[in-house]
C-alpha cells in the first residue's frame, strides 16, 4: 500500500529524484501544478501511461487535497 506523506517529505523525496505526478484532470494541471510535476489524470492511468514513468525512481502522486 502506498505511503501517505506530508509536504516536507515530498520536498525530501523530490530532492532525491522522485517523480511528481498530478492525477487531477489535465485542465487543472495546466492552470497550476507543483514544479516539475507530470500530468497523468486518474482516468488515464493504464499500461500505456505507466510506460512513460520511470519505475526505478520513487513516485509521488497528488490531487487537490485530502479527497
Amino acid at each position: 500500500m502506498a505511503t501517505a506523506i506530508d509536504r516536507d517529505r515530498v520536498q525530501e523525496l523530490v530532492a532525491r529524484d522522485a517523480q511528481l505526478v498530478e492525477v487531477l484532470p489535465a485542465k487543472e494541471y495546466e492552470e497550476d501544478h507543483l514544479p516539475g510535476a507530470r500530468s497523468v489524470p486518474l482516468r488515464d492511468i493504464n499500461q500505456e501511461s505507466a510506460a512513460t514513468l520511470d519505475r526505478s525512481r520513487p513516485l509521488i502522486v497528488y490531487c487537490w487535497d485530502l479527497a
Binding site: R7, E22, L34, G36, L42, L59, Y62, C63, L66
Partner: protein, 171 residues
C-alpha cells in the same frame, strides 16, 4: 483521488509509490510556487494593499480613522499581536463615534481569503457578495493585506475563469 491513483499504479507494478496527502491545496496554502497558466496571472496576494492601516482592539476609533485616511483607504484591519485578523473597519465603521474603542466599533470575524486565489475568482466573489474590501490572510489567519474590490476588478480584466474554484471553505 491520490490514494486511488497510487493503488492503481501499484497494480501496474510500481513498488515505490507515495501519495502527498495535503495535495496541491496544501502546497499553495503554505506559500510554495506553482507552475502553469495561473502562475503568470495575478492572485489575491499580488493585488492586496499591504499598506492598509492596522489597529488593536483597545485603540480609539478616531485615532484609527486618521491612520486609515493617511493610507488613502477607507478601511483598517483589526489584528492581534501576531497579526491574526480579528475584525475589519470599513467606511461605515470608521464613521462611528470617534471615542469608541475598536472592539465596540469593528465588524468582527470578517471572511478572509487565501493569497493564492486567482484575482478573477476574487473579483467575481466580491461582486456576488457585494464586498468593498476583504482581508487576505495566511491559512493561520495572519494578515497579508487588504484586497479592494476596485483593484480586484481592474486586475481581473482579461483573466479567464479557472477550472478549479479555490474560495470554497474560505472563512
Amino acid at each position: 483521488m491520490a490514494p486511488r491513483a497510487a493503488a492503481r499504479l501499484e497494480t501496474l507494478g510500481f513498488t515505490n509509490v507515495y501519495h502527498y496527502k495535503g495535495g496541491k491545496l496544501d502546497w499553495m496554502a503554505s506559500g510554495h510556487p506553482t507552475e502553469g497558466e495561473n502562475s503568470t496571472r495575478p492572485r489575491a496576494v499580488d493585488v492586496a494593499r499591504k499598506d492598509v492601516a492596522t489597529c488593536d482592539l483597545k485603540d480609539r476609533l478616531g485615532d484609527v480613522r486618521e491612520r486609515a485616511r493617511a493610507t488613502g483607504l477607507e478601511a483598517a484591519v483589526v489584528v492581534d499581536g501576531q497579526r491574526v485578523v480579528l475584525g475589519l473597519l470599513r467606511a461605515a465603521e470608521l464613521a462611528k463615534e470617534p471615542d469608541l474603542k475598536i472592539e465596540q466599533a469593528m465588524r468582527p470575524g470578517p471572511s478572509t481569503f487565501r493569497p493564492y486565489v486567482p484575482i478573477k475568482e476574487m473579483a467575481d466573489y466580491m461582486d456576488k457578495h457585494n464586498l468593498d474590501s476583504s482581508p487576505i490572510t495566511t491559512s493561520d489567519g495572519k494578515l497579508v493585506g487588504l484586497l479592494l474590490h476596485s483593484d480586484a476588478r481592474q486586475h481581473a480584466e482579461g483573466c479567464p475563469d479557472c477550472a478549479r474554484p479555490m474560495i470554497y471553505g474560505t472563512v
